[in-house]
């Protein structure tokens, strides 16, 4: 019954091609792309859910005319789990995208964006379903290239083109490692089929470790771990928001899928793999949220939060790997469950937040925080759903973000009480890091939500903002609803993870289920307590509103220290709100600040501006790329003369012939 999946892929492709073919008639072309994306992704979702429910892997294999590879697809439980965010977000991104792009002109660009959006979904789905190294790499390339065109949507802007190139360089850096990874693995195993990989690495820990490192760098750069995260804050603000949602919600998770899938090949893990994952997770998490704090651009801020959340996911997987290596089963199961569940949760709330940012961008013509404000009254749907997303990402109960972070805290506390010192230390590190991340993330979203949606508008555009079109609201509302449902239904969701966790850890389903059932008890208590609190608070609020409605209410200015005429400029700005925190973490967050202080008794004008730049982009990648610029002298070999190109062929041919004949 893999036919459903195949049909889904074909529908996606067909929709994309139809959009391109019909590009002369922009309206029809967009409908074709949208219908293809929604119908294809819905079918794909059906096939993934069926595998998750039955637990039976579905696959197809056929001969491929590509030397060294076979056309082997297999959707097992692990693949199906990762297909959920891919297809789910693709449906909503398509639903949202057409209204989002409605005021854009240019049939070619629009048709192209639909084509590449569908290709991105196809690429991700094929990567996750591929069961053959070569096929995997091919699908990976499709997945890696499509966002380049999506990011370069507004290609008349120089900074958009720059962002697209940064993305392309970063993604190929990762692909280079993956190429080595699969070629080496294929040579060792003598086959490119995934089934053969595990046998080749069974009793060779040194080799397994090398493979692990290669995979971690290759997949990690796609997932956005520090320091290869630099493409995220560049690419996401440049891309259309529904594309950002799909990239941040689904594509970077494919990197996590790669890491988890690789772990299933490598046999028994070494303890230091877990430590390394925890270290990377901790640095990505903390640095991601710190950089996010300093941002003025809503989408850049969200992009850095993706880095942070990838860190949280890796902390979970790291704890899980450590548990597997040391043979502590509860740690392994709950660690992996935390990481995997956070994959799903993050795709829901980050998709929601990016869609919300897009709605703000469309309504207020910008996502620069210092020019927004007061949007909650003007855009109630966007505001309310964004608030739910922000609450979820911060990890507040009873929403879905809380559940996965709860699992992670549970695993860490479990580790802390272990007799083995190293496990206890690992648990302690994760606890401290998670505490720090949680606090900073809360501050960051207090800033983001407060500055964008509360207060009064800081620019005329923000003042004229209106609620966005219905399909966009619907897409955001569905995701917000999912945040609530996955939070309230947490015990069910967690115990349903048993098959997925068993597939990822190699333990039996029964063992995984036992450990997960142990967590559901405390989880139920936590969720219910907070749910009850919220119900009480809501009732109090309702009573208060009723009482106020009955009484005569006089509205007046908020007390302004005796100043009678406050203006929007007197509000907290985004940078002033987080300034206490950014000064604390000056070591990591280096803002470039320009301060012109007021002078004299009657100051005329004064100004302050700060600009944040990624220290990794500035300090690590910029010098490397400057060095690459020297290589551009090699352009003399690319002269455009046909004769010359054929001459290269001849020289190569003769050299090969002579080389082959002499040796």
């Amino acid at each position: 019954m893999v036919m459903v999946f195949a049909t889904a892929i074909l529908l996606l492709l067909f929709g994309g091609f139809l959009a391109v073919v019909l590009c002369a008639r922009s309206g029809v072309s967009q409908v074709a792309g949208q219908v293809g994306a929604i119908s294809g992704s819905a079918l794909g979702l059906v096939s993934a859910i069926r595998v998750l429910l039955t637990g039976k892997a579905e696959g197809m294999s056929s001969v491929w005319h590509m030397p060294g590879g076979s056309l082997h697809f297999q959707i097992d439980v692990l693949s199906a789990f990762f297909l959920l965010p891919v297809f789910g977000l693709s449906i909503l991104a398509a639903l949202y995208g057409r209204s989002y792009l409605a005021d854009r002109k240019g049939g070619y660009a629009l048709a192209g964006s639909w084509f590449h959006l569908n290709m991105l979904t196809v690429g991700m789905a094929l990567v996750i379903a591929a069961h053959d190294g070569l096929l995997f790499l091919l699908a990976w390339e499709i997945m890696a290239l499509s966002p380049f065109f999506l990011v370069a949507f507004d290609d008349q802007k120089a900074e958009v083109r720059k962002a697209a190139w940064i993305y392309l360089s970063a993604t190929h850096l990762g692909t280079a490692f993956l190429l080595i990874f699969f070629v080496l693995l294929g040579r060792l195993a003598g086959t490119s089929d995934f089934d053969g990989y595990a046998a080749a690495l069974r009793d060779n820990p040194a080799l397994s470790s090398t493979m692990f490192l290669l995979a971690l760098i290759g997949f990690g750069s796609k997932a956005g771990i520090v320091p290869t995260h630099v493409w995220l804050p560049e690419a996401h603000p440049a891309a259309p928001s529904h594309a950002s949602a799909l990239m941040s919600g689904a594509m970077i998770k494919v990197g996590i899928y790669g890491v988890v899938r690789t772990l299933t090949f490598l046999g028994a893990p070494e303890p230091w793999w877990g430590w390394l994952l925890i270290a990377i997770g901790a640095s990505s998490g903390v640095l991601g949220v710190l950089f996010a704090l300093a941002q003025h651009d809503l989408k850049r801020l969200l992009a850095y939060h993706s880095v942070e959340n990838i860190g949280i996911i890796l902390l979970g997987i790291g704890i899980g790997v450590l548990g597997l290596a040391e043979g502590i089963r509860p740690l392994a199961v709950i660690g992996f469950a935390a990481g995997l569940l956070h994959v799903l949760n993050h795709s829901i709330f980050k998709g929601l937040l990016f869609l919300g940012a897009g709605a703000v961008q469309r309504a207020a013509h910008g996502v620069e925080l210092e020019e927004l404000g007061g949007l909650l009254k003007r855009m109630p749907w966007t505001g309310a759903t964004f608030l739910i997303g922000a609450t979820a990402i911060v990890g507040l109960p009873p929403l879905n973000g809380f559940v996965s972070e709860f699992l992670l805290f549970y695993a860490s506390f479990f580790a802390v009480v272990q007799p083995a010192v190293n496990i206890a230390v690992a648990g302690l590190i994760v606890l401290v890091v998670m505490g720090l991340i949680g606090g900073l993330a809360a501050a960051c979203f207090a800033k983001a939500f407060g500055v964008v949606f509360l207060g009064s508008p800081r620019s005329p555009e923000a003042g004229e903002a209106r609620e966005v079109a219905r399909p966009m609201c619907a897409a955001m509302a569905i995701l917000a609803l999912l945040c609530v449902v996955f939070g309230l239904a947490a015990p069910t969701v967690v115990s349903a993870l048993d098959r997925v966790v068993a597939a990822a850890t190699g333990l039996t389903i029964g063992a995984a289920r036992d450990q997960l059932t142990a967590v559901t008890g405390p989880l139920t208590i936590a969720i219910s307590v907070f749910a009850v609190c919220i119900v009480i608070a809501a009732s109090v609020w309702a009573v208060r509103s009723r009482r106020l409605a009955l009484a005569a209410v006089r509205t007046a200015q908020v007390w302004g220290c005796g100043y009678p005429k406050p203006t929007p400029k007197m509000q907290y700005t985004a940078s002033s709100f987080v300034q206490p925190l950014t000064t604390q973490f000056h070591l990591f967050v280096r803002n470039r600040e320009v301060l012109v202080p007021p002078e004299g008794y009657f100051p005329a004008s004064a100004s302050y501006s700060s600009e944040s730049s990624d220290p990794f982009l500035r300090g690590l990648f910029a010098p490397v790329f400057r060095w690459f610029d020297y290589l551009s002298h090699l352009e003399i070999f690319q002269h455009g003369l046909v004769h010359g190109y054929v001459l290269y062929l001849v020289i190569t041919l003769v050299a090969l012939l002579i080389w082959g004949s002499v040796w």
């Binding site: 455009g640 046909v642 004769h643 010359g644 054929v646 062929l649």
Partner: protein, 214 residues
């Protein structure tokens, strides 16, 4: 059968040198036609003891296409093209002809090295095929006019044809049909492209195409 092959080799080498050294207007396509005819005979001679319809059809198809159709197309093309001198190479006529001598030596040496691997292939034909491939590539690289480049391409294709006729025994037809189809398409595409480039830009010099570079 060896004497025939010897004659074909000698004539094939001569046509190649003629193409390297040709300066006159219509000579290129004519030498090419002769060479195509010669190469078309190779599979018939090779399979003389057990001639099948397949081989005969292949040889006839090859002779018709490369001996008649392609040269005719090229001659027509030349008639419509308004340029004055046929050959304005990067490397002069004398240089090209002299170049042929070391390449022939290289071909003989390579053929010697290849003989152990290809036991059934006649040595003379092996030399010819390698030489044709080199000459074809050389013509593509050094000739300025698109017309001579097409000729170079067809010489290269002749070399591949001879090589496959002598080296591959089983799937001859399949391989050859594939290559022949490639050549067929290539000649027509190039022919059309040359005409269009000519009418659009007023030149047929391939090196001037760099003007199109962005």
């Amino acid at each position: 059968m060896l004497p025939f092959l010897g004659i074909i080799q000698a004539l094939g080498l001569l046509t190649s040198f003629a193409l390297l050294g040709t300066r006159s207007k219509g000579a290129g396509p004519q030498w090419l036609a002769f060479q195509g005819l010669l190469c078309g005979l190779v599979p018939i001679i090779m399979h003389a003891d057990g001639l099948t319809t397949q081989v005969v059809l292949l040889a006839i198809g090859n002779i018709v296409l490369k001996g008649i159709v392609f040269p005719w197309v090229l001659l027509r093309l030349r008639a419509r093209a308004p340029y004055h001198r046929e050959v304005v190479p990067f490397i002069g006529i004398v240089g090209s002809t002299l170049f042929g001598i070391p390449v022939l030596a290289l071909s003989v040496w390579l053929a010697l090295r290849m003989t152990p691997a290809l036991k059934h292939a006649p040595f003379v034909m092996l030399v010819l095929s390698i030489f044709l491939i080199f000459v074809g590539l050389f013509l593509i690289v050094t000739r300025r006019k698109a017309l001579m480049q097409v000729i170079g391409y067809l010489v290269l294709e002749n070399g591949i044809f001879v090589f496959s006729a002598i080296a591959i025994s089983g799937t001859l037809l399949l391989v050859e049909l594939g290559v022949l189809l490639d050549a067929f398409v290539a000649v027509f595409v190039m022919g059309i492209a040359i005409l269009h480039i000519n009418s659009e830009f007023g030149f047929m010099d391939v090196d001037q195409l760099t003007a199109l570079r962005g």
